[in-house]
């Protein structure tokens, strides 16, 4: 069964450094999402992406964040200058939408630790 993959599974970085989190969505899906979960808290929406552009972003998704689909298969989340409060689990999700279902399929997550 196709699945969403994410790399790396765990990344440790120093405050102020740039990080890129990578996701490979399911191949025939058209809608892509990033969510994050700070330890012990609920999962929060960051951004949705469709047709090579952002369709919606949350208040969390400020100028330090960007997303890209560079090659038609990968979907990346970049944090330009990480802060301690960016430490969280980041989940990528994809959805076929409009093909009889609106289900979102989640990747295993990347645990980001900012020191």
């Amino acid at each position: 069964e196709p699945e969403v993959t994410q790399t790396p599974s765990h990344q440790v970085t120093q405050m102020g450094q740039e990080v890129i989190l990578r996701c490979v969505p399911i191949s025939n899906h058209l809608y892509f999402y990033w969510y994050r979960q700070i330890l012990g808290q609920k999962v929060e929406f960051l951004v949705s992406f469709y047709n090579n552009e952002i369709s919606e972003k949350s208040e969390i998704f400020d100028d330090q964040f960007s997303v890209e689909r560079p090659d038609g298969s990968n979907f990346t989340l970049k944090i330009r200058s990480t802060k301690l409060e960016d430490s969280a689990m980041y989940f990528c999700a994809s959805s076929p939408r409009g093909q009889g279902t609106y289900e979102q399929y989640f990747g295993p997550g990347t645990r980001l630790t900012v020191t």
């Binding site: 609920k42 999962v43 929406f45 369709s55 919606e56 939408r97 279902t101 989640f106 997550g109």
Partner: protein, 111 residues
Amino acid sequence: GIQVEQSPPDLILQEGANSTLRCNFSDSVNNLQWFHQNPWGQLINLFYIPSGTKQNGRLSATTVATERYSLLYISSSQTTDSGVYFCAGANPMDSSYKLIFGSGTRLLVRP
């Protein structure tokens, strides 16, 4: 925006017991999904259930969309069922169909 409330927040069961987890929504949702977060932090998709009832082994879920709630049933619980259970829904008026998550039910199944 939509508010998602899950109950109970914490639940301790003896192995073999049955349980029901509830998810209430403040407004109509579609795209309703249940997840199990395992000890490694992964979100395991349990059900996509915008309405009706589905069963998968010892787990089943029912969504009553007109009354804005969903239930997750766990029968004959096992220690491996421990973890956090999240429900999430999307506002049908929201073009992005982003999921809004509840705060979760933390389940501990004791041997």
